[in-house]
Amino acid sequence: MTRAPSMQTATIQSVANFRVEREADWAAFEALLDRLDKRGPKRLSEEELLQLPRLYRATLSSLSLARAISLDQALLAHLEALSLRGYYRLYGNRTGLGSRVARFFLIDWPAAVRALWRETLAMLLLLVIGGVIGWGLVASDPSWYGAFVPPELAQGRDPSASAGQLREMLFGGGDGFLTGFAIQLFVHNSQIAILCFALGFAFGLPTILLVLYHGCMVGAFLQIYASHGLLVDMGGWLSIHGTTELFAIILAAAAGIRIGAAVAFPGDRSRIDAAAETGRSAATAMVGVVVMLLVAGILEGVGRQSINITGARYAIGGLMLLGWCSYFYLLRARSRFDHG
């Protein structure tokens, strides 16, 4: 019985001393975090940076200990918030945006696109089917045209336009009309691409419908021009940017379908987990799609206005398609080399 009181006294003493002994570490950690927030990691000395994980672990172990022995709630709240700040600093984010960007273009993007090859083929097929349907319907009854092409996009290019008018629009050069139209079409197509991706998680159905609809629209456009004997010229007008743009839309849809499939058939995972997991890898492909859409926008806004020769338009469109395909599907050797 004589031992118990002395042990008690000793332990009470240690609770009281707990704070006094460790407070310097907490203050140092907080000051270091403040400096990091204010000046960023590059302005700190090597020694200070080495201190960071040590002080973080010291604070975390203080927190664990305080939870076990202390009833000072202000202290516990402070230690928990401080630990969380340190946690975010150490684990919160992967820095090195520059090397990440390089890695993205060299490895991640082509790999993400390659991983979607099945969906990509399916969406290409769907777009072609849509195109055939659009063509067929407008050929059988021109009034279908209005159903596929919204009037603000058509801008007079409807079945009633004469061959001269249509031709003028293809080779109109830099007049205001076409420039404005090109921007509108770019915005429109970007929206379609993003929608194809974003609506994928509704089991992919909206994506399929959108791709079909877009195919119908392109088919209807082509039919109108073909009926006036301008198919080859229209193909050139479309292909200079279209190979890039339609490829981008197909990839966006493929990424959306991948998410939709994961949500519909999650396997062992929960639907939310499945969506999150596929969402992340599909998003990589999607960033690339945005880059492609920008390239398409530049080709459309600048290239198509200044290049008025159908052959040159085909050449550029074909080269772009060849470039994208070899970048996505042939760069494989490079990435294997990088990993090896």
């Binding site: 975390l60 664990s64 009833l71 709630q73 984010n93 974003a198």
Partner: protein, 293 residues
């Protein structure tokens, strides 16, 4: 598991208890994080939009100045650049700022928010990208649906209304789940949490002189919950509340002597009670409140 720090912090912060989630660090220590409220998310977004709007305006004026010297048809190239750069600028703004160590746009920083990976691991660039691309759709979908429906003109008023309600539900998805996740957050596996900074304050039990001495019997009257309430009252500095609490304690422990200074009396009782309860904790008993004997 008893987590006194966590419970008490909920009282200090205005957020409801249901907004606290547990995050386990790689070292195995659970930390409480507070989900950002829908109101502060909205405010942060508004601030970001204002900043982006100002950037666009500056770009427009710059272009006007640059192209203006050539005269004539300057508006067309400007319109192209603005249309393209609006899209790029908006997305770059969110992507670049959220992929930095603070993982927050200026709006989020002002509102004390940051983006965190839901699995407790590091927030990757891919996640930032996924959540921000979805924003394009979540926000603009209602307008696009409405616009395209009205433009094609083949949908009646009710169809437009139904479409709008559906699209709005898409945009306001955040309000319909407890974790305040946008669809972008859902796909990216992220959530937006409050950045907490809690100042270190002096220990109430440390230092100072002791005027009142309490017996073990007097200290046995209360538990941890009351101890924490007493700490709040002492830290609040509210004289009226201290008066009330001092009277209540004196009555419960049967103290009949004079109390010349409420604060001194309460501080001494707090000191005694905390040492008493901490001793019990060390010996393996956590007396939760006065009814837990």
């Amino acid at each position: 598991m008893a987590r006194p720090g966590k419970v008490s912090r909920q009282d200090n912060m205005s957020s409801a208890a249901s907004s606290v989630r547990e995050l386990v660090t790689p070292e195995g220590v659970p930390l409480g994080i507070v989900i950002g409220s829908a109101a502060s998310r909205f405010m942060a977004l508004m601030i970001d939009f204002i900043i982006i709007g100002l950037l666009m305006l500056a770009l427009f004026l710059l272009l006007l100045f640059a192209f203006g010297t050539f005269g004539g048809n300057a508006m067309k190239p400007i319109a192209i650049v603005i249309a393209l750069s609006g899209f790029v600028l908006r997305n770059l703004y969110f992507l670049l700022l959220e992929s930095r160590p603070k993982a927050a746009t200026f709006g989020k920083r002002l509102l004390g928010l940051r983006v965190v990976s839901r699995d407790g691991g590091p927030l990757s660039i891919d996640q930032v990208v996924a959540r921000n691309l979805m924003r394009e759709v979540e926000l603009f979908l209602p307008f696009m649906v409405l616009g395209s429906m009205a433009a094609t003109g083949d949908a009646g008023g009710w169809a437009v209304l139904a479409g709008f309600v559906w699209a709005l539900g898409f945009s306001l998805f955040l309000l319909f789940n407890k974790d305040r996740m946008r669809i972008g957050d859902l796909l990216a596996g992220t959530w937006v949490v409050e950045r907490q900074k809690v100042k270190r304050v002096d220990d109430l039990a440390a230092g100072g002189t002791v005027h009142f001495d309490f017996t073990d019997a007097a200290l046995d009257q209360y538990g941890i919950t009351e101890l924490h309430k007493l700490e709040d009252v002492l830290r609040s500095g509210d004289g009226q509340a201290q008066r009330t609490v001092a009277d209540a304690i004196a009555q419960r422990i049967g103290y009949t002597g004079p109390i010349p200074d409420d604060r001194q009396f309460l501080t001494d009782y707090y000191r005694g009670l905390r040492a008493h309860l901490e001793r019990e904790v060390l010996l393996g008993t956590r007396r939760q409140d006065k009814n837990d004997l």
